[in-house]
Amino acid sequence: MEKLIIEHMLNSPGVILDPEKGKYEFSGESRPENARNFYMPVLEWLEKFAADFSKQDPSNRTIPREFQFNFEYFNSTSAKYILDIFKILSNVHSQGINIQVKWLYEADDEDMLEVGMEMSRMSKLPFEYVKIEV
């Protein structure tokens, strides 16, 4: 599957979805002018990623795939699309595919930790919380 790389901008996050390197990352700020336009290609990529497992060798399912979320800030409009990302990943996870989600937050940013816990609860997808010392 083709990788999807989006360079981070002042108001939109960096995205790396690269199956070949086994690297899946979101980082930075998310308050794009049009959140729908920004996140649609990402959601479409993930839908295809999810669907592709049915065509692959079953052994592929057990390979751990780590998705790292390292948001500095995201606005409420972005939050909807970020939840959509987790809903797709949750669906993939519930099919027995080895998805691991790491939610990074700065040590003094309790709000970001709390938002992560809410996202995990709402999408029914377990997260691992990684505290970054600042």
Binding site: L10, N11, R31, E33, N34, A35, R36, Y73, N75, S76, T77, A79, K80, Y81, L83, D84, E106, D108, D109, E110, D111, M112, E118, M122, V134
Partner: protein, 163 residues
């Protein structure tokens, strides 16, 4: 800091830079800094969304949007204002009164309801953004509507964040 004038997407970037460069902002501890930043972004986003919806071509009175951040003794006061159609007042009042009455647990439940309803569609304003602001604010959100003419009013909200 104070700003009055029309808000385009480019203006948002300028306003955020202005906020970040103030000594009061730089002197804040990280959690308060992020809360102030987040509420500021949501406020400006709301103004921007509303401005995009209102055509000012045939208006008798035009009042520019405004946003200000004021340092109080142990807190910050964010005031944001913009024109809204009078037809929207009922719904805005309802949404504001609702978030003001709820405690944090109830706000989280409402957040979940709204984010799932609106998932995949863009917010028209004062939905999820307002709940997010209420979750981060340290006092209830004050608001007022001042009538401009038969079709429009000036809508102002005030949010307090502790230092």
């Amino acid at each position: 800091m104070d700003f009055e004038g029309s808000i385009s997407f480019k203006t948002i970037e300028r306003l955020l830079n202005k906020l970040r460069s103030t000594p009061e902002f730089q002197g804040l501890r990280k959690p308060a800094k992020k809360r102030l930043y987040g509420i500021f972004v949501e406020s400006v986003d709301n103004i921007y969304k509303y401005t995009a919806r209102i055509s000012t071509d045939n208006l008798s009175k035009i009042k520019n949007p405004m946003i200000s951040v004021k340092k109080l003794e142990n807190a910050f006061l964010i005031t944001a204002g913009n024109m809204v159609p009078n037809d929207d007042i009922g719904e805005l009042r309802f949404k504001l009164d609702r978030v003001n009455q709820l405690d944090n647990e109830a706000l989280k439940t409402l957040y979940e309801d709204v984010i799932n309803q609106e998932s995949g569609s863009d917010d028209k304003g004062a939905g999820l953004g307002l709940i997010t602001m209420a979750l981060r604010a340290d006092k209830e959100i004050n608001y007022s509507f001042t009538s401009l003419d038969k079709d429009y009013s000036f809508f102002e909200i005030q949010i307090t964040i502790n230092e």
